[in-house]
């Protein structure tokens, strides 16, 4: 088609420029800017000039160390134990605040485990960041496959030939058009420890045996509760994408399978699933990217608590970059987040490549 009729450098640039210009200024520029800012001490508003600090922000955020604590011993060399028989250890502070270990200065305990008599303590210079990182990864690793599988289940359910099936499709999709902010607020009420609907329903289903639980107030259940709600809100979105994939599979394949006498599971395994390959890759990547962006749920429901059990990368990036006006700190988290998204997408593409 490269004839003189369609050759037009001037019109071409002219038409593409508004769109490309906006994308360049508001997406590409801040993207590269994030890398630069993460190497400085930029603040949103500051009387002092911005300085280049190299990789200091990354060091401050990522530094980790494992220290070994020997149990306290009395004069005879016997291990001092508390009432439960557990050995007593010196405080971590005795190391992180000691002049003998300048490299651990200012670090705090993240978690510890026992190995024999000694305790190993992982200390980090930025414990909240590490919690945010692990929570985000946990969220992605659990939500992405679960949500993709549930969405596929719903799509198969909706793909039946039944009268009125479109009504059900419309209903399953409904939460997708409701803002996640609204959903989060609504579910705060549902998860409430005293008047929460969930406790009522569970009590009803177990004939009163269920005692009631403050889902968002307990560090062990808060993140899980947010995962469940996020899946509830978004699963219809991916159901629709699966459904589009299902409908590209030729009916003749199903007819052939039926003639061969294949069971339902065999039909799914050898006809449906191979036909959904590309859809599966796309869905996994889309859900992964959406899960990494976890923010509104946290902001509305828990603010990262209780005990930092629901901190996430984006929440921390905003809290630092906007809340504390620490643009460079927020940008550093953004860069790490982007590198994670990129790595995971590439790994997913590699694992699901055509063989």
């Amino acid at each position: 088609m490269a004839t003189r009729l369609t050759q037009s450098n001037r019109a071409g640039w002219l038409f593409a420029l508004p769109g490309f210009g906006l994308i360049a200024v508001f997406i590409i520029l801040p993207f590269f800017f994030a890398f630069w800012l993460s190497l400085t001490n930029q603040r949103l508003i500051s009387p002092n000039p911005t300085e280049f600090v190299g990789l200091q922000n990354y060091a401050d955020m990522l530094s980790l160390a494992v220290v070994t604590l020997e149990p306290e011993r009395d004069a005879d060399g016997a291990v001092i134990r508390d009432e439960t028989g557990a050995p007593e250890y010196p405080r971590v502070r005795s190391i992180t605040r000691s002049d003998a270990f300048p490299q651990y200065d200012g670090m705090r305990e993240w978690f510890r485990w026992q190995s024999g008599e000694t305790a190993r303590v992982v200390i980090a210079s930025d414990v909240v960041f590490w919690k945010a990182l692990t929570n985000t990864l946990l969220f992605v690793l659990i939500v992405a496959p679960t949500q993709a599988a549930l969405a596929l289940g719903l799509a198969l359910l909706i793909n039946q030939r039944l009268r009125g099936i479109n009504v059900f499709r419309a209903i399953y999709f409904m939460p997708v058009v409701v803002s996640i902010v609204i959903v989060s607020l609504l579910w705060r009420f549902i998860y409430d420890g005293q008047d929460g609907l969930l406790n009522t329903v569970l009590g009803f289903l177990t004939f009163g045996a269920f005692e009631g639980h403050d889902w968002l107030g307990d560090p062990d259940t808060a993140l899980g509760s947010i995962m469940a709600m996020s899946i509830w809100q978004a699963v219809g979105f991916h159901m629709v994408i699966w459904l589009a994939g299902l409908q590209t599979i030729s009916p003749t394949l199903y007819e052939a399978a039926a003639i061969e006498g294949s069971s339902k599971w065999q039909t799914f395994r050898y006809v449906t699933w191979p036909g959904l390959r590309n859809t599966a890759v796309l869905i996994l990547i889309v859900i992964t990217m959406q899960s990494f962006a976890l923010f509104a749920q946290i902001d509305v429901m828990t603010n990262g608590g209780p005990l930092d059990s629901t901190q996430t990368m984006v929440f921390q990036a905003v809290e630092r970059g906007y809340g504390k006006q620490d643009i460079s700190g927020g940008s550093t988290i953004s860069v790490v987040l982007f590198l994670l998204v990129l790595t995971i997408s590439l790994v997913q593409r590699y694992l699901t490549r055509e063989r």
């Binding site: 593409a16 508004p18 939460p175 058009v177």
Partner: protein
């Protein structure tokens, strides 16, 4: 195994519908609860959560919560802001992204492939990862307005609109759609002496109903549901959209009835819109996945 008798088939059909209905309840009940609660005084609302009454419009039902929600927050202003920002962004986005896509598909120009690749590459950059550097940029961007030059975009409508106009996904959707249109149409119009803009406006756009609907719906959902961005760039009540306005309902004593009334007010119009245009909504989401 029992033989498949008519009875048996009826039973299986009933089980299928039962499963469909039970799943539907999971999605409907929380939303039903929201709407029903918005009509109840707080005390009753809380008491009702212990029974099926939570989902029924029973007891002391009134519009009192709505009246109080309007008292507590400038609801009309928030809705106006959201509608304005959403409407303007959707229209500008459709115009600018379709024009760019037109140029990528139908025009030959140097750098075309490269520019398109760059735009598509931005699809893998989640907005959340650029929000903070973008905050710094817009806080210092100049703007020439009617009152002279301003040196920040914070606390304005434009900061909520302009960064959201062009995006990779919208351009991508238009490019995909335009590729399937017959190129001869464009060549024929050229032969007849039509200008490029006339071809875009008179020939291509009139054929683009489905993709315009898709792009408009996706943009609408993104814009109306904006939260993170207005939260950090708008501190003045005057420019706040509905989702950020929610914060007014979380001062010390949470009045759940008012919260539910506000949630219902800002959700039900969208849900109604969705239910009317249900097919178009679902088709638009599906079309983001077909080509992959």
């Amino acid at each position: 195994m029992a033989a498949i008798s008519p009875d048996n088939r009826g039973l299986r059909l009933a089980v299928r519908y039962l499963v469909l209905v039970l799943v539907a309840l999971i999605f409907v009940l929380p939303l039903l609860f929201m709407v029903m609660s918005s009509f109840k005084p707080d005390q009753q609302l809380l008491a009702d959560t212990s029974s099926i009454r939570a989902f029924l419009p029973v007891g002391d039902v009134s519009l009192g919560n709505y009246a109080e929600a309007f008292q507590r927050a400038p609801v009309r202003l928030f809705v106006f802001n959201s509608v304005l920002v959403t409407g303007v962004t959707v229209v500008l986005s459709l115009a600018i992204c379709s024009l760019a896509a037109f140029s990528f598909v139908f025009l030959q120009w140097r750098g075309r492939g490269l520019v398109l690749s760059i735009i598509l590459a931005t699809l893998i950059v989640p907005f959340e990862t650029i929000a903070i550097p973008l905050l710094l940029i817009v806080s210092k961007l100049p703007w020439i307005g009617l009152d002279g030059v301003e040196w920040t975009w914070l606390n304005t409508y434009r900061v909520q609109i302009i960064p959201w106009i062009a995006d990779g996904l919208t351009v991508f959707l238009f490019v995909q759609y335009f590729k399937d249109l017959p190129g001869e149409l464009v060549e024929a119009s050229r032969v007849e002496g039509a200008s490029w803009f006339q071809i875009y406006w008179r020939v291509i756009l009139p054929l683009s109903g489905p993709v315009v609907a898709t792009a408009a719906i996706l943009k609408f959902l993104v814009m109306y549901n904006q939260y993170l961005w207005p939260l950090i760039v708008v501190q003045q009540e005057q420019y706040r959209p509905v989702m950020v306005g929610l914060q007014y309902f979380f001062q010390l004593n949470v009045a759940w009835g008012e919260v539910m009334a506000y949630l219902t007010m800002i959700t039900v119009p969208v849900l109604a819109f969705y239910l009317v245009l249900q097919r178009a909504f679902i088709a638009s989401i599906a079309s983001t996945g077909v080509k992959g």
